[in-house]
Symmetry: C2
Subunit: 247 residues, 2 copies
Amino acid sequence: MYQQIADALREQIADGRLAPDAKLPTEAELRTMYDVSRETVRKALGLLVNEGLVVSARPQGHFVRRRQPMVFRPQAEFRKRPHSKEMDAFMTEFSAEGREPRQLIEVAIVEPPAEVAKRLHLQPGALVAVRKRVRYLDGEPFNINDSYFPLDLVRDSEIMRPEDITRGANEVLAELGHRQVRALTELYVRMPTPDESRRLDLGPGTPVGYHLLTGFTEEGKPVRVAITVLPGDRHVISHELFREEAP
Amino acid sequence: MYQQIADALREQIADGRLAPDAKLPTEAELRTMYDVSRETVRKALGLLVNEGLVVSARPQGHFVRRRQPMVFRPQAEFRKRPHSKEMDAFMTEFSAEGREPRQLIEVAIVEPPAEVAKRLHLQPGALVAVRKRVRYLDGEPFNINDSYFPLDLVRDSEIMRPEDITRGANEVLAELGHRQVRALTELYVRMPTPDESRRLDLGPGTPVGYHLLTGFTEEGKPVRVAITVLPGDRHVISHELFREEAP
């Protein structure tokens, strides 16, 4: 029975009858509507909270979660402007007025995590420089972006300073003789670790996209791994595809 | 305290000391190791189950979840073979021996879901043909792939028959005069709906990637929406990026 109540509410959320931020019927109202116990109503609401569709804000009640995702476009790495008018329109649709991004940057020299060492083909003992960023939008943490570079390549460069690099770290790498001409991206979909939940202030039922980008030079040398943690309730990840052959 | 126990186990899973399918220490062993109550041990294990890192198989105990993801490569839409040797190596690494894909296909004429109607620019009342597929690997459901076409475009074509189309539905569309030359992809990361959980036989703590691909003709007319539901524990979604400008 609680499944049926959840199904009915989910359908109303999906088709917009219950809009973002709308208040759901109260527990008492749902009990009367469906002639069921408080227990059953609570199980139905709990299911929707776990699915990330509804937030519980006691004592006011339950509300439809507002999802206003930000477009994450891995292709911006190599071309700032999209090529198709469809992508332009799509990004315009998702860009909200008055949202001001802000970021905290931290730089460190560390032993690389195993997944980074493997992708950068590092010898045991080799160190990496990491630029760790948390990006905020309207004061809320939006995503985590950590970029790893073999220390040998970037020592004493601008990359080691905890400030924004206006022309981009990729441009600095190119000036150092390590221009990235292609990249391989991997996206894993999973629940957050407790540390990610804390840093990103995630609610229950919020999975993340774990995005790894490995950048290669013309000679096929991996020179950078960027790891982005994207909360599912705040992002849509988008690509343009073309029939034309890439070089 | 249960967080610390979970952290320690998580670290061992991450660095491979606890390999896929390995048995975790028993509840009794963990109680002795950390000198804590059964309650605390259970909370620690419950946390790892919810994160999808561990499976509980009573009465045998808890085991490290094996993740052997399949590469989902949206770019295969327009080029079968990857272009970089890095992507080739990556796909080889993830291809497992002896895994036989199999699929069930179902065709229907339906009113389009709102998200499909919007992307296909359909008038109210216009119908769509949908080819619904569930793909199995080694007898397990791997993903759901539903492709929607404006009914006006594909009526009486091969697309309406519930059989595999060897040369691909895209080729049939092209023969009908609606060749897709570009596409826009959107990926949303969220918890599964109960229906998806059932169709894909998902365990607890398993989010999904919800992938929409809209295909456009040269004139910018949308002629197809493909929706793929990708369980996070069974897929890695991967792209190649190139610095060279697309046309």
